[in-house]
């Protein structure tokens, strides 16, 4: 190992992610953020980048069920981990109770904050399945919505919590086998490739 590290650091890194339950293997530049990789490489454009400063939460995605700022969290740091995005909330076209609650309560207007808000709320409910109003207020303090004034969002999260929120939406982690990979992930010279689905 020491030999490798006395050489310059890597300018391409092969990573393996399990995105919404689906294993993905790709080669990224270290500078690429998780939001960039999800949006531009994996075509999952739900997560939005707004403040680009870890303040607004529009880019919130889950890494091993914890909320992170996709705008700043490096894709390489998601290597070997489970990534959850808004696209994974509905199962077989059926909205999750939280998504349905957002619609029922009109918990969005322009909808730009919504994917991040939904993921932040998903993480919150994961930890606190029956939050008080105060828990929701404090849990979502780091997610900005400029349209709604928050009231309907809080109502939606409470509605979802009151309903039968599935105790866990965590995906099983399917193993990434090299048969699914495109190219040798450990060869830093490999151009960015995306796994065949």
């Amino acid at each position: 190992m020491t030999d490798v590290l006395q050489a310059p650091g890597l300018d391409r890194v092969a990573i393996e992610l399990v995105v919404n339950g689906v294993p993905r293997r790709l080669v990224v530049e270290p500078r690429e953020t998780l939001a960039e990789v999800l949006r531009d490489r994996l075509d999952l454009r739900g997560a939005k980048v707004s403040c680009d400063a870890q303040v607004c939460g529009a880019c919130t995605v889950l890494v091993d069920a914890l909320p992170v700022s996709g705008c700043t969290f490096l894709a390489v740091d998601a290597d070997g981990r489970r990534v959850g995005t808004v696209e994974g909330l509905a199962t077989d076209g059926e909205l999750s109770p939280l998504q349905q609650a957002f619609i029922d309560q009109a918990a969005f207007q322009c909808g730009f904050c919504t994917p991040g808000m939904l993921m932040a709320a998903t993480a919150l409910l994961e930890e606190q399945p029956h939050p008080s109003r105060d828990d929701v207020v404090h849990g979502l303090e780091g997610n900005i919505c400029r349209c709604t004034g928050y009231e309907p969002i809080i109502a939606a999260v409470l509605q979802a919590a009151g309903g039968d929120m599935p105790s866990s939406r965590r995906e099983e982690v399917p193993a990434v086998t090299s048969a699914e990979a495109g190219g040798d992930p450990l060869d830093p010279g490999t151009e960015p490739v995306e796994s065949q689905q």
Partner: protein
């Protein structure tokens, strides 16, 4: 956008030093990246290589230490917030990390990164200063220990050598009859002012005190005069009010920095408000332990 860089992912400290060296000094260590990547994005810093410390087991985790704590540098705010050991040994720290930033930053940002970055509005630095915490550093030239006041020398400036790694923070056990409290006022992302107070109470009288202020000065500072005002005060009665008033008066001479939170005057005033509440909270806790 984050500019291009190379990444090294060492598994040991020696590998980390080697990787740093291989970049001819054009390198920086990175943990959660919540500060470093942000400043790189904004164009304020650029490095050929980032050396990721998260893969080094020695730097991570929380251990009880005879009533004290040893917190690895790459331990996240979230891990501290949820640690039973911390809840047990240092409740004030739990309250503090719970109010740092937002859930996302707490999931990834580390204690070591916070201290090493030395942002003048750091919450932990102020409390750790008042708590006599010891910082353990390791570099190619060997290991050393230091204190917060020796470590943080200016805004974004520490005595850490570029290739030195902050390994862990050691927080001494509370003495018998000791109470520690921390409070801040924040109008923006980071605090406008914060105060940490540590006291020991024996026989209903404050025997010793340490007071640190943060966010209003360029670096977190000890305020010995404010601490002295508390010493000897009767923890239970009106004398305490007087002692607190005396302490507040000493804060008037702090070299506060005007920023978006407010003028120097106003920030000194806020420190006084916080001093009053933290002194009371620390003394109450101490009385409980007395």
């Amino acid at each position: 956008m984050i500019p291009r860089f190379r990444l090294a992912r060492p598994a040991t400290l020696d590998e980390a030093f080697a990787a740093f060296e291989a970049a001819n000094g054009d390198a920086a260590y990175v943990a959660g990246g919540t500060e470093l990547l942000q400043v790189m994005k904004m164009g304020f810093a650029q490095f050929d290589t980032l050396v990721d410390l998260k893969g080094i087991p020695e730097l991570h985790g929380i251990e009880g230490d005879g009533g004290g704590l040893r917190i690895g540098a790459t331990t996240t705010h979230r891990e501290i917030e949820r640690s039973p050991a911390v809840a047990d040994a240092f409740p004030a720290l739990v309250g503090l990390v719970r109010s740092v930033a937002n859930t996302r930053v707490r999931s990834t940002g580390t204690l070591g990164g916070n201290l090493a970055f030395a942002e003048p509005h750091s919450d932990p630095a102020t409390l750790l200063l008042a708590s006599d915490a010891v910082l353990e550093l390791a570099g190619p030239a060997g290991r050393r220990e230091t204190t917060v006041s020796e470590f943080v020398v200016g805004p974004l400036s520490t005595t850490r050598e570029p290739d030195e790694v902050l390994v862990r923070v050691r927080i001494p056990a509370a003495k018998p009859g000791e109470g520690r409290a921390y409070a801040k006022l924040a109008f923006f992302e980071r605090p406008a002012a914060s105060v940490a107070v540590r006291v020991t109470v024996d026989g209903g009288v404050v025997r010793s005190a340490t007071v640190a202020v943060g966010s209003l000065t360029e670096v977190p500072e000890l305020v010995p005069d404010a601490a002295a005002a508390l010493v000897g005060a009767d923890a239970g009665d009106g004398a305490l009010n007087e002692a607190i008033a005396g302490g507040i008066a000493t804060l008037g001479s702090l070299d506060a920095v005007e920023d978006l939170n407010g003028s120097a005057d106003y920030k000194r005033h806020l420190a006084g408000v916080l001093f009053a509440s933290t002194a009371r909270a620390a003394i109450a806790e101490a009385v409980g332990h007395d």
